[in-house]
Symmetry: C2
Subunit: 137 residues, 2 copies
Amino acid sequence: MATPTTNERPTEISLLTPGEMADRTGVTIDTLRYYESEGLLTDVARATNGHRRYSSNDVLWVEVLRCLRATGMSIDQLRHYCRLGDHGPTTKPERKRILLDHRALVASQIDELRLALDLIDHKLEQYADTKAAKGTN
Amino acid sequence: MATPTTNERPTEISLLTPGEMADRTGVTIDTLRYYESEGLLTDVARATNGHRRYSSNDVLWVEVLRCLRATGMSIDQLRHYCRLGDHGPTTKPERKRILLDHRALVASQIDELRLALDLIDHKLEQYADTKAAKGTN
DNA sequence: CCTTGACCTGGAGTGCACTCCAGGTTGTTG
DNA sequence: CAACAACCTGGAGTGCACTCCAGGTCAAGG
């Protein structure tokens, strides 16, 4: 965003190769390509040889994607959300709504997991005086 | 478990038909059969016509299955856990270990979800002064 | 007696989200 | 210049957990 004072080619500062991007974000190259093909990641830059170059914005966005995927938002919903982003600020209310809805969903997932924890603890009482085996198997 | 004082056929009191079982547990008939075929549910009683009859123990156990599945234990791991149960009390330590490991996993899932919640909230700040759209879409 | 509904079996099909592959190009390195 | 690593594309394959289906049995109701 800030214009650099040097005269190095500005947009190529700190662009990541696919491999680097995979390392940074924990998302495999294949999955990055898949997300792009599904419209979850748009306008990825290319080097002159055709190889992808990911910006720091891309890194940030992929982290958001990861977070939303990890919390159960489907590729389809994500695609919808992304398309809204492409259509400018008039879609802001809907995007906010989607995020709020998803937030509620995550909150309820947490509640469910806490209940599960209770049930597991209750089940564990059956083994109260038993030493646990060493290996995880 | 308690012996009834009446002389009604004891084991047929309150056995559930597959349909009733599905209603009670929220697990479909197909999935119940699938779990049985995968060894997650053993010794299900049968009526004289060959139809399944589920005991209250089965109900309890299916609730445990649901909980463990919902928290990410795979069918494979569940099958392993069940097999241990079939092999008597010498496997108790390992069963306890599995449950403890899974408990830790659920706890870490909760942590992850909380982080996700933070990220979503942070993202929501971008829409701070925006009214959310009404429909869920 | 005929239909209906709930269930049975073995096996095929589905949806999702990747994940892998073949065949090819490019750029660096010894 | 040869070999290698990293990347490209379109498309096929995978794994998981169901979910559905065809064809059949059985008991009760009209």
